[in-house]
């Protein structure tokens, strides 16, 4: 499998990252070289192997269901690029 410019356009839409034409050329080269490298995995027969998403043998524990006041709204909103009273402001979503 290899990645062409159309695929890059499609991925960049999914990832919400616009790429310029120059960037597309470089990405096409780099992504294909990475894909070629990772495709070595095809040499391996993994039919009877379980996939693992983590190595942790830890059971998930339940925390006590109790209210903890950790962060104040005002402090958190200090990091907002744009805000209005207690709300984040974003460009208009609905016409």
């Amino acid at each position: 499998m290899s990645i062409n410019k159309d695929t890059i356009k499609k991925i960049s839409k999914l990832a919400r990252i616009t790429v310029t034409n120059d960037e597309t050329d470089r990405l096409e080269k780099d992504l294909n070289s990475i894909l070629k490298f990772v495709e070595q995995l095809k040499e391996l027969n993994t039919d009877n192997v379980e996939p693992i998403s983590s190595v942790s043998d830890q059971d998930l524990t339940m925390n006590k269901d109790e209210v903890k006041k950790i962060n104040a709204k005002d402090d958190i909103l200090k990091n907002a690029p744009e805000k209005n009273s207690n709300y984040y402001v974003v460009p208009k979503v609905i016409e």
């Binding site: 999914l14 490298f37 990772v38």
Partner: protein, 487 residues
Amino acid sequence: MSDLTKLTLVESVKYIKEKKCSATELVNAYVKRIEKSDKLNCFNTKDLENAVNKAKKIDTNKKLDKTLVGAPIAVKDLFCTKGVKTTASSKILSNFTPTYESTVTEKLWNEDAILIGKLNSDEFAMGSSNETSSFGNVLNPYRLNNENLVPGGSSGGCASAVAADLTSATVGTDTGGSIRQPAAFTGIVGLKPTYGRCSRWGIVAFASSLDQAGPMTKDVKDAALILDVISGYDEKDSTSANKPKSSFLNSIKNNVKGLKVGVPKEYRVDDMPKEVDDLWQEGIKILKDNGAIIKDISLPHTKYALPAYYIIAPAEASSNLARYDGVRYGFRAEGKDLTEMYENTRSKGFGAEVKKRIMIGTYVLSSGYYDAYYLKAQKVRNLIKMDFDNAYKDVDVILTPTTPTAAFRFGEKTDDPIAMYLNDIFTVTANLAGLPAISLPIRCNKDGLPLALQLIGKSFDEQTLLNTAYSIEQQVNFKSQVKDWWM
């Protein structure tokens, strides 16, 4: 002691406790050095004034009984520090000031360590040379014929800062080798603990099933001391492990008699420089001479670790980094509607390497490719883990080189992503299998650059790892060759 910054962390704390120097004197010694070391570009943020004030407070008000009392410590700029800017060396977080403290750093300050700054790294910890940082390269204190070298990455600022005596010790993070490879390039000790040994809460996430915080220090005892402090269960991280632990430092012993050490043949890669192979043989000989039993072992799927990593890590990263959208924190670029605002923010906020990895991750998780890439990589990850499970039926610890080469020049590997990724060929397996691993400086090569060996241990058996590393350290007696050329 004329220069307090030459002390190890263990010695520094002892000095303070025994009142051979005050916390203020110790911090001031570091401040003085840091102020003369801007050329190395280790720091994203310095917090020197606060550090001096905290030291004064310790000298006047505090009992000097805490484990890290008075020790000035800078940490990788990936740990959220309350009220102190945390950027992950990325433009997209360049104005982010956390309202909370990461668990690992909170544990440091609870033991009366003093924050002196936040250290540069590759952007979002993605890189092996510190060249992807939005805030410029970090220089390695070691040079090749007066030519600058990379410090390794991603914890390059951490590595150079310890090697250049700008922090008494530090904490980095390691997803594929980001503690151990820069430690090797700068002649310091770097320990990646078992996955789950330390809480990931409050660390800017890269690949959550691989990320782990760990010590980067001047010697093995310092690494044990830091690990004592930062490890432990945390209810804020459900993957942190609830394991009983005693003090790694107090249990350290110089004894490898009867220890079974595995030497995996698959790590003898093509084109391995002779000096690295010789170093490996030297390590084997030291352990053998001290009574360890050397066994040839096989980890048959080693070759597939890096390819599996370059599917799994970008996949997790693409998902983790979806949160940077310009809405709640960080950098925002304007756009005519919400989607365009997201796209402009992410295009301008992320650097090239980060974008590349998000794109790869998005691709391997996208419909039609998930099974061929992501699921396949998860299966291979299991094969790699099973390789280690089998090997550890016969051996207690595994010895390998840390990196295939010594530190390299800037720009040397930036054109070819695979050449850069191959830096992690020996380190990445421990992340995939979740195992603890330590990099230990052994000696300098003929060019005066440090070379290091790696020990990989059994899950949650950092003690054997530390003991073995300590025994080797006592034999090789590595001494820093850093000349203060930048001052």
